[in-house]
Amino acid sequence: MTEQGNENFPRRAFLARAAKAGACVSGACAAAYLLYDSKGPVPASKKQQLVTLPDFSVPAEPGRSMCIATGPDRKQTFNKAIDSLGGIERFVKTGDTVLIKPNVAFATPPMLGATANPQLVAQVARLCYSRGNAKRVIVTDNSINDPASCFQLSGIGTAARQAGAEILLPKPTLFAHTTLSGGELIRNWPILYGPFEKVDKVIGITPVKDHHRSGASMTMKNWYGLLGGRRNIFHQNINTIIAELAMMVRPTFVVLDGTQVMMTNGPTGGSVSDLRRTNTIIVSTDQVAADSFGATLLDLTPSDLPYLRKAQAGGAGTTDYKSLKPVIAEVAG
Amino acid sequence: MRSGHSKTESIVSVVMLILLVLAGAGIFFKQFQYDAERLDITLAVAQTSPQPDADDQINLVSLLPAGFAAMTQRENFGRDNLYVKINGKADLYLQSGFVELLCRRFVSDEDQKLWAEIFLYDMGSARNAFAVYSTQRRANAVQLPLTKFSYKAESAVFFTTAKYYVEIIAADESEKLNDAVLTVAKNIAKLPQKHEDSIGELKFFPEKGLIPGSFKLHLTSAFGFEGLDDTFSAKYRLGEETVTAFLSKRHSLKEANKVADDYFQFMIDNGAVITSAVNDKLAGKVLDFYDSTEIILVSGNFILGVHEAYDRLSAEKVAIMLKQKVTEVAAIDRAR
């Protein structure tokens, strides 16, 4: 832009420019005032926005919190078990969004039993839609191996999609930091929080497995897949972290699949010879009770797994599963 | 070039110059405001030497043997707060010219149970250090070759070096810790000292019959007599009984006589009686104090004698020996 000056110095032009200059000065001052930071930066760890997982449990009904169903076919056994507790309708309401957290830790075939059984996951998702009238079913896990290949090779990806569920693979933006109140380890730690936003119900599905570090990997250990960051660090204190995970996640119910249990070489297994057929599925609103019973399938007692006692002390459930008067059901094969 | 310049220009120029001067002045005055502690280069660079934990007086950490490390930060106590550290005993130190106490614990790298604490008392002078050392000497002491005045008792080591009185007290009687304590003690004893002040009076005590390590310095009122201050004593054993010999240097012969007379009178007042001496030289100087012998003599500027001896012969022998030695040494000193 050019401005032509002349002897009759245009007063208005000057005033206009002075006004603009004044506006700039006030703008600069106002911006400085608004952005002024008298304290300076604080150390990184102190300013994370923390999130907390909501409680997804449904009201308890006496005598209908745990079912131990036996049968060779997972689908039928699960149906039987969930029906003994009041049917899926008791847990999933019309229009709910349900998050299923299966164990998809490894990129191993379903046959090896290192991951949740795809047909079982699909059946749970199907029931949520067909009888629970769920609006949406999401399946997620922060796998140890590459998540995409884990979902593909474990067969859970395909099976769940066929049942109408969405697979949500973890990505950095889905993680947020949390601190478990009363926790020692889960302090300002990133968890896979994104999928839990706008979710009404949470279901955990996992097989019974031997676990080298902790003794056994079952429903409580399944939540390990929600941890982000360099979570291997927690292997230094595995019992406490499993107990804290159980305290952190309050699921609607958990499905512990003991149709085939991994007796040795857990948690990855690697051979069908590691597996033993025990034909049991536990559906429970109390994950500690489910795992306490699950321990017996591995020829262990609840006292062999210190995390069970820790979780009970932390209020996550009871190790005395018999006190829940579990429903015992059987499906003929 | 322009021929001249306007008045406005001059005014603006002067204003600008004033602004520059103001800026300069502002900077100048700003530089006086600072937090000296934060900028203390000694704090920052003192540790570039291999022994980073520098104390202004003695770097105790540098004296630790391999395998041991400091367990606590050093603690300093002055005259005002000495009682905090050694509650009951503070007065003894305060009366003996105490300046400062430096404490530090050290511990074995391998076993947390193996720790010991160093008490380094700056007593201001070797004399004062010796005074607190000698008055606290333990009965079960074992002489050490560490310094002239050093001994070991149970799991602790006590000694003086220059103006310091040092105690190192171990928490455990294990040999490993014991060795470490001795090493630290040796290292402290080896430290170069600025002021080497020895204690002159000790050379006046004859060596024959002297019980090693029995020297004592009474800074005030020796043997309960107020006038007898700054007095050394030593124990002798010639026969069956032990004899305490004493010696105090005064400023002049006159003062020595005065104090000796006063002390003599003090003894009489308290129930002592003049008794006959076996050795004629001591006639009139020997007192019987409820069956014990007291001898009070003067030689040159020195008051000397024997205190609380239950064997008169030994007592007189020691007194004669002491007087002879004092005369001899004083003569040698004068000759120099």
Partner: protein, 582 residues
């Protein structure tokens, strides 16, 4: 008094003050040391620093409020900072004057003509500011310091010119200072200076992003240079020494004018003045920023960040040798603030703080990093100097209590800048069975973070047979020992599992033992003995180590050190911790 004289005085004044501030940037309270000298004054007055950090952090760090003074004055009066205050500008002006004063008038007029390429500096500015403001994934960095004249000249003087001068005189620093990659800093500095011989104030006219920013700010300046009458002889003398190449003789480019006022001084007819009205010859007020150039520089600025971040240096591929000084913010936040001014590097009393090269990521160039191979020692336990000179709190000011985790910081513990690791394949007692506890001895912590494990190992060819024993002397059948070799106090003679005595001296076939009742009595002629070395093998207590690097600095394996600090476990990036909090 002539205003150009005052302008020159002002330039000399500010340049001198600036150099003085560089000189006093050294730890201490003597009048020529840091004291209370406001060494950050120029960086604080620099609006590019303030605006850059505002864009990257969305906050205005309190001390940078000083920039508002420059901003307001520039809006009202134009680019006075370039012509009157900027020390780099003064230097350019001086070199340009020296280089061009003998050239004929026509040549000088030619040199001071406005060039289209002067718009480049705006694109430099837009590029830097765009990359500082990249909103994606919280990615942003501050790279203005590369070319912003104040950080540039601060860095150049502090890290290259002063150490060079001081190495000849030795007045400021007792030992010579070393700065890795300093020649690149110096190269940029001299390149900028020598370009003045080509065209005066080359850097200011074509490159300077700060000048560009001030040019934009001066768009509505109330007073500006211009002709006060149309009766001009068009002698063009006003452009002979025009510093900004803004062409006051014709239509003046307001945004290019640096207020050197040489035109005012050289006009014979008093046609030119500093006035509130537009020049009667007409003026160009808008900076020459083409739409195409704007979009190009903006997009390249935006894309530069993710492009450089492709290297993953802020993700899993983080450079473990990048040890930042205590108080440094987390790496992402640090890069949003660091100006690369080099003051922290300069003030570091041990010279361990160094300008980073591009091995830590392009964006980390010239930012402070500890190099424990350089300097007189590692990071000193009781020193927080670097945190206090940082103008933007990229290294936030920390107290000694916070650094050491004392008092109210006891729960948080000391600030760890890394963790030392023993390289057992290089460590003398670990790999070569040679006694050495240098790292343990030098660990400044209390209790020490390095502890040792005692081991007795039989030396090579150390298995011998007894030929004769007399008192403490043992003669051996073999004649293979190097005389005196085992007399250092580290060697022992062992017979059986637990019996061992220290060797005090040896010849080729005999050893003499320190008094130890047990050993020589149990030995008989023909018995086997072993010469053993007593080793104290160092271990790092990972819970105590703060990564100061003193051990690495002192390690006698002077090439690749046998104990090395890596940034693992540093406090500032909690995701890099090794251990669980307990």
């Amino acid at each position: 008094m002539k205003i150009v004289t005052v302008r020159r005085l002002s330039q000399v004044f500010f340049f001198t003050v600036f150099i003085w501030f560089c000189i006093v940037t050294t730890q201490g309270t003597r009048w020529w040391q840091l004291r209370g000298w406001p060494v950050n004054l120029f960086l604080r007055l620099d609006p590019l620093v303030a605006i850059g950090t505002i864009l990257s952090t969305h906050r205005l760090y309190a001390p940078l409020l000083w920039a508002l003074v420059t901003v307001v004055l520039t809006i009202l009066f134009g680019r006075f900072f370039c012509g009157w205050v900027c020390p780099f500008g003064a230097l350019h002006q001086f070199v340009g004057f020296l280089g061009n004063r003998k050239k004929p008038l026509a040549k000088r007029l030619q040199l001071n003509k406005y060039r289209k390429a002067q718009c480049i500096k705006y694109f430099v500015l837009i590029f830097f500011l765009a990359s500082a403001a990249v909103p994606m994934l919280g990615w942003a960095w501050l790279q203005t310091g590369l070319l912003d004249p104040i950080p540039l000249v601060t860095r150049s003087i502090n890290l290259t010119l002063l150490p060079i001068v001081d190495s000849l005189t030795g007045t400021i620093s007792a030992t010579p200072r070393y700065y890795q990659g300093a020649c690149l800093v110096l190269g940029l500095f001299f390149a900028a200076l020598f370009l003045n011989l080509l065209i005066p104030r080359f850097y200011c006219r074509f490159i300077c992003p700060l000048g560009a920013l001030l040019a934009i700010l001066s768009r509505f300046a109330i007073w500006r240079i211009g002709k006060n009458t149309s009766e001009c002889s068009n002698c063009k003398l006003c452009e002979k020494a025009c510093e900004g190449a803004c062409e006051p003789a014709s239509q003046i480019k307001i945004s290019e004018c640096v207020l050197c006022l040489n035109c005012l001084d050289s006009c014979k007819d008093n046609v030119i003045s500093y006035q509130p009205m537009p020049s009667l010859a007409g003026e160009v007020t808008n900076p020459d920023i083409s739409r195409r150039g704007f979009i190009l520089s903006l997009t390249s600025g935006v894309f530069a960040v993710p492009a450089v971040r492709l290297a993953g240096k802020l993700a899993d591929n983080w450079p473990h040798k990048l040890i930042r000084p205590p108080g440094a913010l987390s790496e992402a936040e640090f890069l949003k603030r660091c100006l690369k001014c080099g003051q922290c590097i300069r003030i570091c009393p041990t010279n361990v703080l160094q300008p980073a090269g591009i091995e830590f990521g392009m964006e980390a160039l010239w930012t402070p990093v500890l190099n424990n191979r350089i300097g007189t020692s590692g990071c000193q336990l009781n020193c927080t100097a670097c945190s206090y000179v940082c103008p933007t709190a990229a290294i936030r000011p920390i107290t000694l209590s916070e650094k050491l985790g004392l008092g109210e910081f006891a729960e948080a513990g000391p600030i760890r800048i890394g963790t030392a690791f023993v390289d057992r394949s290089r460590c003398l007692p670990w790999a070569m069975d040679k006694p050495c506890i240098v790292c343990q001895e030098n660990c400044p912590l209390s209790p020490k973070a390095i502890y040792t494990e005692e081991v007795f190992n039989t030396v090579r060819d150390g298995s011998l047979a007894v030929k004769k024993i007399s008192a403490l002397k043992i003669e051996t059948v073999e004649k293979i020992m190097q005389p005196g070799k085992f007399a250092t106090g580290d060697y022992y003679c062992a017979a059986g599992e637990s019996k061992r005595a220290k060797i005090t001296s040896n010849t080729e076939n005999s050893i003499e033992l320190a008094p130890n009742a047990a050993l020589e009595k149990t030995l008989g002629i023909g018995d086997k003995i072993e010469v053993q070395v007593r080793l104290q093998r160092p271990h790092v207590d990972i819970e105590k180590c703060i990564g100061c690097g003193v051990c690495q600095h002192e390690c006698p394996v002077s090439g690749k050190r046998a104990i090395r600090v890596s940034a693992d476990g540093e406090t500032r990036n909690p995701e890099r911790k090794i251990l669980l909090d307990t």
